[in-house]
Amino acid sequence: MEITMEKTLDQKVVVNTIEAIDTSKPSKIEVKDVNVWYGDFQAIKGIDMEIKPNTVTAFIGPSGCGKSTFLRLFNRMNDYIDSHRMEGKIKINGKNIYKKKVNVEELRKEIGMVFQKPNPFPKSIFENVAYGLKIQGIKDKKFIEERVEKALKQADLWEEVKDKLKKSALALSGGQQQRLCIARTLAVEPSIILMDEPTSALDPISTSKIENLIFELKKKYTIIIVTHNMQQASRISDYTAFFYIGELIEYGKTKKIFTNPEKKRTENYITGRFG
């Protein structure tokens, strides 16, 4: 337990030094009457919501309620599923990202994503973080090195890997891999970060590191996180949205949802009576 506390303090120092070179550009997200189908199955039913900049919003709900599908709408990751069909509008800073003219690759540089299982590329630690920049055609080595270092510091991983940047990312522990994936996302400098159960495959110490990280990152980024862990949602999020069978049942300040929910169903889920 002592070790965890120390690390937490360390990390705060690191993050604070980064704040000086801030490049934040918070984004507002508006969702208007969104419906999603997989073939005949309707996965998302008429959702309206607004997500405020520089907040952490938690999506909770039982498995199969559509929260991951919904999350993947924001960076259009569902585009690759053949049977997927979507109706409605999702506006980011006033622009509908589902318009025909939208460049999906550009969109995904604005909206980063961290996945459930750590998924580093089978390349070196450095190459993992540099990948997002290199595919943009950036060749300036010094620029890339600076960005990689900055991203690794932001993700609280720099101290652990600075001497082995050329080593394979697959040799890192699960928790380190997940922070590497966060660093990889930060290197592209997005304004929104989507996280799909980022700690569900990690041990408690790695989980607490990532939670601390999320807490720090929200100063610069808008974060949406899908989680099955109620304590996690209440610990780290400002707003919480409860989904049930494709519908948004309740959405509001986390404190309110967890202490005094309006809907009976929300209360039952949070208190563990179903799901």
Binding site: M77, L107, R108, F121, P122, Y131, V188
Partner: protein, 284 residues
């Protein structure tokens, strides 16, 4: 006898049957290779490899056939690899999964099972006659390319399927285009598998005889080919030709040529195994 004893007996019987079956193949192969080595090993020396074919057994060498085989090998690789890998990538990554792609998939698998002589007939008609390439190295390579394309396509698809979806997701999520994801992630990750399939396909091409006979590869070519439009012979055809002669000397020559051909295929398979192991380690 109760049921436990019965099961044990069945278990033992099956084990012996399996052992016997394995041994049949192994023993036959050992006998065959031993026989060939006894007949041919004494013949192999540098002049056997560098001599031109001859009517006298002791003077005859495999130079033209070996060079023909090497020409065929490289030209076939040059044609079949880009086409086969591209087709595999397309089918796995770009084509929509519908009834048409289903039919395509079944047919490609079926093509891998078509007898090679049918490909020879196709090559004779299309490449030798219609395209007027004659009985050239190019016509032979094109024919063999057709023969091994299905194998390369299937191997490419299998290798791509084995790349974890999470890696592709990560690449797309960072703003990579489809092509960038294929080039930077999918192909490097599936490279070992693709290479294994390609080498196995090529080692099959090196051993093929029937389609090349139909296309018109001659048994007696006085010179090694020096461009793709030259006439040619290959090792299997040289072996076939020697074996069908009555003099004992040629039988020994054939055995020696078989050793060389087997050597080439073993080395190629060895390379394939090496790459497969290396690739598996990388993913561990």
């Amino acid at each position: 006898m109760n049921s436990i004893q019965k099961n044990r007996l069945k278990d033992r019987l099956f084990m012996y049957w399996g052992m016997f079956s394995t041994l049949i193949g192994l023993v036959l192969l050992v006998v065959f290779i031993g026989d060939i080595l006894i007949d041919g090993l004494g013949i192999i020396d540098w002049s056997f490899i560098t001599n031109l074919p001859s009517r006298k057994a002791e003077k005859a060498g495999i130079y033209t056939a070996l060079m023909g085989s090497i020409w065929i090998l490289f030209l076939t690789a040059f044609i079949a690899i880009p086409v086969g890998v591209a087709a595999g990538v397309y089918l796995e990554e770009y084509s929509k999964k519908n009834w048409l792609s289903g039919i395509l998939e079944i047919n490609i698998s079926n093509l891998a099972g078509v007898p090679s002589i049918i490909y020879g007939l196709l090559g004779l008609e299309v490449f030798v006659r219609i395209m007027n390439l004659g009985a050239s190295v190019l016509a032979g390579s094109l024919t063999l390319s057709l023969l091994i394309l299905p194998i390369i396509i299937v191997a490419t698809r299998e290798a791509i399927k084995a790349v974890p979806k999470s890696i592709q997701d990560a690449s797309y999520a960072l703003g990579a285009s489809k092509w960038q994801t294929i080039w930077h992630q999918i192909l490097p990750a599936s490279g070992g598998g693709i290479l294994t399939g390609v080498i196995l396909a090529l080692s099959r091409a090196v051993g093929e005889t029937a389609p090349l006979i139909v296309v018109g590869a001659l048994a007696y070519v006085p010179f090694a080919p020096d461009n793709p439009m030259d006439e040619f012979s290959v090792l299997p055809i040289q072996i076939f030709n020697w074996i069908s002669r009555p003099q004992h000397g040629f039988i020994e020559n054939a055995a020696a040529a078989i050793i060389i051909l087997l050597g080439i295929t073993f080395i190629m398979n060895g390379i394939a195994v090496y790459f497969r192991n290396k690739w598996q380690k990388k993913w561990k």
